[in-house]
Amino acid sequence: MHKVAVGTVDWNARREDFPILHEQAHGHPLIYFDSAATSQKPRPVIEALRNFYEHDNANVHRGLHTLSSRATEAYEKARQRVAEYIGAASADEIIFTRGTTESINLVAQAWGGKFIREENVILLTGMEHHSNVVPWQLLAERIGARLRFVPVLDDGTLDLDQLPSLLTPEVKLFAFTHISNSLGTINPVAELCAKAHAVGALTLVDAAQSAGHMPIDVRELGCDFLAFSGHKMCGPTGIGVLYGRAEVLDSMPPWHGGGEMIVSVALEKSTFKKAPHRFEAGTPNIAGAIGLAAAIDYIEHIGRPAIFEHDSQLARYAAERIKELPGIRVFGPKEERGALVGFVMEAAHPHDLTTFADQYGLAMRGGHHCNQPLMRRFGVSGTTRASFYFYNMMEEIDRMIEILHAAARFFK
């Protein structure tokens, strides 16, 4: 039996923090290998939500009563907690959103709408999630600007040799993912940011797959924007973060209008608050922000370096073992990879394979993973993806391999 030995973390005890992992599916113990889609939630996060609704619930920044002050304080403390978590200089650089997708749309509309001109280029990569493609297509179409894409090599890494010809002075923004949600590729963020800045472009990092899995320091990375979702890092759904460097946020107009974001409203014209409140119109997801702060506390208690090491071991082990299967193609880099493995089995379409696996309690994802251009690049309509988090165990991967062998026999 393979054991993951990282530091002194008691991984079995951490697993016990997740009540849902005791669930069964079709009479089998649940094996949850779909954390890249959304992670499960530990008890402290579930309790933080409950605690908020049972004791502190009120609207923020509005009432002058006790509960409203408590809710406001907890909400703003959560912002501070997020700032510390990603090494932001100030909590004013943290905007709460619904998730990665909304964060990127905010940048495309508020920043892009003001600063992108017809002659400009937005540089993306061939491995972006649809949420880091479509907002830019909408913007480019509206303004007449162009998109460019850094190609992906066969091994799942970016073709950085192409960068000099792509990253030209017309490029105003380079937006790319930290970790690919289909390939597991970990991109060299600091290097890419430095190169972008050298031609005067700003950078946006899609940290959806990395924020809960590895240490992130926005000042070390040198990015201007960073987007992530709470639900992929032990937090609730419906809460996410946009980090923006203070100077950049201050240059941006609002995107949504409404309450909370204004200083004063006259019938013809309003004046707006400063960042981050300028970008948070209406009642925010207060409980969500508090739940996200609880998730951060929980993750930090374990430690992100230990989580990264644990998840990488699982992913490397899974990639190795999956290769044992007949007619198999594994995607993504050989060496370093994030906490997931994408593959196709000749005998079984990804949807047949995931339906089959589900009958044995194994939850994986089959399909294009919101990465249609990338799937096309690799000549497949979809893949099967097993994705991991620190509550997964080597034994579960061994069980997955057994189930995949059974599927290969069944569909052959």
Binding site: H349, H351, T355, F356, G367, F411
Partner: protein, 152 residues
């Protein structure tokens, strides 16, 4: 075990060796059916007899076992059927794969092996894709058309 109920031997056989798979050079209608959520594709070619019935029907495409087997079984069943028979079968097949309380209509014959799909709601679209294509072919009558399980 539900998995064998879904993937009956007949279905696996049709997905591995689809019948009526290939081009139909003198087809009257060609319908490109697409299930974007899964990436399933069916290209259905139909030739009509003078009364508007299905003289011949063939398909190409790729996708999951359910969509490909459904297309294969469907083409076998619908060849030489009148318009009315096809429309009746379409309704009966839809009930078969969606309605838990439905007693599989005898008229469906072999197609009844697809009944297991009703326990897998996410796979109904896969099974229905070729039927959506044939419905479109009847409506269209001539030329080329596209049909999607996710209308845009």
């Amino acid at each position: 075990m539900e998995i064998e109920e879904l993937y009956q031997e007949v279905i696996l056989d049709h997905s591995r060796r689809p019948r009526n798979f290939g081009e139909l050079p003198d087809a009257a209608v060609l319908v490109h059916g697409d299930n974007p959520a899964c990436g399933d594709e069916i290209h259905l070619a139909v030739k009509f007899d003078p009364d508007g019935g299905l003289e011949d029907i063939k398909f190409t495409g790729h996708g999951c076992a359910i969509s490909q087997a459904s297309a294969s079984l469907m083409t076998m069943k619908l060849k030489k059927k009148s318009r009315e028979e096809v429309m009746g079968m379409l309704r009966a097949f839809h009930d078969l794969v969606t309605d838990e309380t439905n007693d599989a209509s005898k008229a469906l014959g072999d197609l009844r092996v697809m009944q297991g799909v009703r326990k897998f709601p996410q796979r109904v679209k896969c099974a229905m894709l070729p039927w959506r294509a044939v419905e479109q072919a009847l409506e269209q009558g001539a030329g080329e058309a596209t049909v999607s399980t996710e209308p845009s």
